[in-house]
Amino acid sequence: MNKIIKLFNQKSRNILSLFFTAGYPEADSTTEILEAIEESSADMVEIGIPFSDPVADGKVIQDSSSKALLNGMSLEKLFEQLNVVKDRLSKPKLLMGYFNPVMQFGVEKFCKRCSETGVDGVIVPDLPPGEYLAYRGIFEKYDLLFIFLVTPGTSKERLKEISGYASGFIYAVSSYSTTGTSGSSALKPEDVSEISAISGLPVLIGFGVKDNETFRQACSISSGAIIGSAFIRSLDNSPHGIRQSVSLFVNNIREEGD
């Protein structure tokens, strides 16, 4: 069974998913961060594929993305790194990135490599349902869950349309913004219940979740949250190495959580 589905079968509250950019801060940080997350009490991990033009991202992820590219990061390298650590990792993994690098790599080849390296799902924010349709069969063939975003502005009608394609969970964007916003969440508890009721899927909240307090707020109305920018910033500040920094970060988030 797909590990993402298994996770949500076993756990329906306080799910913590961490996002970081592959190849940041150093080219070979990817594997170290993945192993640190494996040892932590985080539940799931999203690995960002760096892109030169990340239009849906705020400054922190933009900067990590350009640094990763300067470090020589690429999809090919990422799959090589994943291949090295895949047997040591048991938590569900997703790749998240913009469509162009995937398209140039080849969608079928991308899916095949994902399934060979233990990737369970993908998030491609600029491949909305209308364009996804052309590739749906390929993602399904390799048992990759394709995760869709919804926003505070998503209408009921649109939600129904998205639900026709969605699997795994729904990624609920908390506010009208790019990633790493400091603004407060525009999602109300009833919005989340509606998303869940219409899609029949669990909901994770992302964009702007950054600390213990915002994590608990998100968890109070949904199955859990995704933390990206704040996690990446914590990696910049790891005097005792990445492992300790990740463990500290997760413990802070989890305090009084579980």
Binding site: D53, P54, A56, Q62, M103, Q104, P125, P128, R158, Y176
Partner: protein
Amino acid sequence: MNVKAVADKNGYYGEFGGAYIPEMLYNNISELKSRYLDIINSKEFRDEYMQLLKDYVGRPSPLYYAGRLSHHFGTRIFLKREDLNHTGSHKINNTVGQIILASKLGKKRIIAETGAGQHGVATATVCALKGLECIVYMGATDVERQARNVTLMEMLGAKVVPVESGNKTLKDATNEALRDWISNPESTHYIIGSIVGPHPFPDMVTRFQSVISLEMKSQLKEKTGSEDPDYILACIGGGSNAAGAFYHYVENENVKLIGAEGGGMGAETDLTSASITTGRPGVLHACKSLLLQTTDGQVIEPYSISAGLDYPGVGPLHSYLHARGRARYYSINDDDALKAAKQMIELEGIIPALESAHALALLDKMDFNSNDVVVVNLSGRGDKDLETYIKRFDDE
């Protein structure tokens, strides 16, 4: 062969186009998509648009028979004088259309991206005209290079935001404008400056620019006895002036359509903007088209002496016309564009924009018959390029 200049309902021209938008932009794009055709085809819109084009922009732009240039090339050359428009280029045809549309959609805040500043000035101008708030994103490098246009935009009441991300040029300004739109979906309309971006922008901007070839038909009829020229030449940045100049002739195979890309230091070098000549299909700014990119799919920073051609992609319509062989595209290097500009100044007393000089440089690459009718779309005037001209003409 059934090649058309309009997108299908999903915004595709053959395999190119589409709307690769993050969900955050869905409401804006779907509102535009469902309403733009009804609005721009309504009588109320047409009346206001045509009136403003006539009395505010100064249309129709003249079609000028360039006698000395014609003599030099041994053929009949006409210049479509978009340089004589208010604000000095074709960009205003689009911004006038989009500002009326934005008002009809009830938007109060306008954002735009700009490279050279021509589209920024044209947007700031129509915002002043309508009393709407205007924010222009401009790469920090371009803010420095194009100080005069920054002053103009600010004088017109726009706020110019220098973009510090990426390479700090047009591509990054476009990224930042899209991010602004994601963050302000309800209040804001994004006036994109060329036939790029997600559907329906390429189709919509093409329609606003199509007035160029509409006028050409009657002007040519009057001057040559036939609506149809043998050639239409235009420069290609995102491709909007060329799309406007080609539009009414795309289905008429007797008319040869030729585009000039910014070759920079040469299409075979790293310093080029020739995305049709050397690019591969890819997705940038929510649109699938030919794109300058690495094998990993990272977008390559383009280069051209002309800031208006300095874009790594191109409108999906041109990728399609290229793929179907309906139009031909040449890469024109900096030096050839400069030479063509100088020749134009000396022979006709017209100082062209550096972008337009690329279209003029095509004249030297073609083999014309003496009775051919050749139209060059003179997309803009050269005031903004004075410094470059002074410097480079002196070097020679």
